[in-house]
């Protein structure tokens, strides 16, 4: 008979081990899924995890790694702050869209002015503010009316998608685009382009922002009073109230930061890799970032590594799509599976497995 016994304090060994075991378990289960789809599981796993970094075309894929990891890390860092405090912003996808729209709108308003020193910073400001304000809607509704922030932030994703469609077809449509939906391509507008900083590395301003966010979040959580309040609220809301934490301010802070970072991610995406506001601009980074945050154990450094790994599954997934004909959705299912294994194995961090019969106390 196996039973669980609560540990006095979470095991730090298992806290490090569970993400690794979860990744390995997902490879096994994913391999089984791929073989059901008629693909050789060993080849599929190698194509997804090994070839993009070490294979024949690695020079191309390595650059893509940072391009994909940048927005994931940027969004996940913000989400993790809230998740640590038990504040669930799951509408990052919407904040990402609104950030991109606001940033692109600023760029297009200045088109074709040649003052990059002014246009690009203003775009960054607009992107962050757009995401922040969009996240303030669930924030203020939560603090003023006690409305569930999970549901409101998520429902706002669907609203943001409609705004995106409206913008792509209406106000932001390229006037020289022959009537096709979608805005001007910002990469061709020098003052607004989010250029690659080092040729072939995939390093653009969004990746820089992600690294800065990692450092700031690390300092915030380990050295700053607000970070302490976040951790305290997550572990014991009652103790946090006695310690003088203002829960409403913390809710607004966490939602605001995560919304602002998601908005930034959207802006850097629309000005760089994607280039334009189009109907299918968003590809689900806001949702995948939730997995990244958990896989990184809500810790900034962990999120950095998890973001790179998750970016690898995206790129490897594309490679597997091209070379093995593996469907795109398989990677999405694969990522969901990873979250399951991670959450399930997490029990070992907080509980000890005991074999045999329970001792009589």
């Amino acid at each position: 008979m196996i039973r669980l016994e609560k540990r006095a304090s979470p095991s730090s060994l298992w806290a490090y081990l569970t993400p690794v075991i979860a990744v390995l378990a997902t490879m096994v289960a994913g391999g089984a899924l791929f073989s059901l789809l008629g693909t050789d599981p060993i080849v599929a796993i190698k194509t997804i995890f090994w070839d993009p970094v070490f294979g024949e075309f690695a020079f191309y894929y390595r650059g893509q790694l940072l391009v994909k990891a940048g927005p994931l890390i940027l969004i996940a860092i913000g989400l993790a702050l809230g998740f640590k405090a038990g504040i669930w912003n799951i509408g990052a996808e919407g904040q990402y869209i609104i950030g991109a729209i606001c940033g692109a709108a600023v760029a297009l308003a200045f088109y074709p002015m040649e003052a990059r020193w002014m246009v690009f910073p203003l775009m960054i400001l607009a992107g962050a503010t757009g995401g922040l304000l969009w996240a303030m809607i669930p924030g203020i509704l939560r603090t003023q009316f006690n409305t569930n922030e999970i549901l409101v932030s998520l429902l706002l994703v669907y609203v943001a998608e409609q705004i995106l469609a409206w913008m792509a077809l209406g106000p932001l449509r390229n006037p020289e685009g022959a009537g096709f939906p979608g805005s001007r391509n910002l990469r061709q507008y020098e003052s607004a382009a989010n250029v690659e900083l080092i040729e072939g590395s995939g390093m653009h301003w969004g990746v820089v922002a992600a690294f800065i966010a990692v450092i700031f979040a690390y300092i915030l959580l380990s050295r700053h009073l607000t970070g302490f309040h976040i951790r305290l609220t997550g572990e014991s809301p009652r103790a946090a109230r006695f310690a003088g934490v203002n829960p409403n301010r913390l809710i607004l802070f966490c939602l605001g930061v995560s919304g602002g970072l998601a908005g930034l991610a959207g802006l850097f995406e629309v000005a760089g890799p994607s280039g334009q506001i189009s109907i299918d601009f968003n590809v689900g980074y806001g949702f995948t970032a939730i997995i990244v945050a958990f896989l990184g154990r809500l810790h900034p450094i962990g999120i950095l590594l998890a973001g790179l790994l998750m970016a690898l599954t995206y790129i490897g997934g594309e490679a597997a799509q091209a070379s093995l004909g593996l469907p795109a959705a398989a990677i999405q299912a694969f990522q969901g599976m990873l979250l399951f294994f991670l959450l399930g194995l997490d029990v070992l961090t907080n509980y000890r497995l005991r074999f045999g019969r329970e001792a009589v106390a």
Partner: protein
């Protein structure tokens, strides 16, 4: 712009059809939440129900088997959630989100070779010509069987929670799982059953969407209906009867906005398309701001893991 082209009788009849997936998913989630479990995976279970139901109908040609398969597929997925949260004591919010992400992925994977197909239509019931009656005929006597089933299910859940022993045990588990455990009731068995029931209902709702309303398979076709169902449980203050009210209110808005779009009403299409979500948020705000003044409240153990320590 012509309001005359909107027929109120047809509007109500189609409202009932449009609301049925949400009624089904919400009544299932209501039972889950009354047992103290918050399953945020409704959207994922619905879409898996939609795809399994669709595939089964294509392969067998029988919508009845399709509905059963939809319920079964979503139940399987809900059991993954049950194992993770009840046995492995994982965080319910995170696991529910994982269920939705996984469900969206696996359904797209399963459904990709079925995207262009259409299913045989399942007939509506006709009550010995009663459906020919003016006004009430199309509304009450000419609907799909599952519409009647969803209404029956709401009544059954209401009766079950209020008047049966098992219903009271379920509520006890949801209010205070430690006390229920001390009294000798099995917290785990109750919650397993509740989660499986919630999964089956969500799957049935999803299958109704892909077999009757659309009737076709497209990726992500539930379009947030699972989340709306979750919102409606809050709206309903965890009471069965109000679920019906909330779902029909939402369905009414969805159908009305579609009618307005078709009538060429001078509002941007995107604004009309987002209106159901905006109004759901508005209703949530109104309900939650009244919560302090004695409106119904959430089950006390909602979202908390249970671990029998002694």
């Amino acid at each position: 712009m012509d309001f005359g082209s909107i027929n109120p009788v047809l509007l109500i009849a189609s409202l009932m059809v449009a609301s049925t997936p949400i009624v089904l998913a919400a009544i299932g989630e209501l039972v889950v939440e009354r047992s103290g479990v918050l399953n945020l995976g409704v959207e994922g279970m619905m879409i898996v129900g939609a795809v399994t139901g669709f595939i089964a109908t294509i392969e067998t040609g029988s919508p009845t088997i399709g509905f059963a398969a939809g319920a079964f597929g979503a139940t399987l997925l809900s059991l993954v959630f049950a194992f993770l949260t009840l046995v492995f004591l994982s965080n319910q919010v995170a696991t529910g989100l994982g269920l939705t992400l996984f469900g969206l992925g696996i359904s797209a994977l399963m459904g990709q070779s079925y995207a262009q197909l259409r299913t045989p239509t399942s007939p509506r019931w006709e009550f010995f010509g009663l459906n020919e009656l003016p006004v009430i005929g199309p509304i009450l006597f000419h609907q799909h069987p599952l519409v009647y089933l969803s209404l029956g299910l709401v009544a059954a859940v209401w009766w079950f929670l209020r008047n049966t022993r098992r219903g009271m045990i379920l509520r006890a588990v949801g209010e205070n799982h430690d006390a229920a455990h001390a009294l000798g009731y099995s917290v785990l068995a109750t919650r397993f059953a509740a989660i499986a029931f919630g999964g089956a209902c969500a799957g049935l709702g999803g299958a109704f969407l892909s077999l009757v309303i659309v009737p076709q398979w497209t990726d992500g076709m539930t379009a947030g209906r699972g989340w709306i169902a979750l919102a409606i449980v809050v709206f309903a203050s965890w009471r069965a009867g109000r679920v019906l009210l909330g779902a029909y209110l939402f369905g009414g808005i969805s159908v009305l906005q579609l009618n307005l779009q078709a009538a060429g009403f001078a509002i941007p299409v995107e604004l009309l398309s987002m209106s159901p979500y905006l109004i759901t948020i508005l209703v949530l705000v109104i309900i939650s701001s009244r919560r302090g003044r004695g409106a119904g409240h959430a089950p006390a153990a909602l979202g908390r893991s249970f671990h029998a320590s002694g």
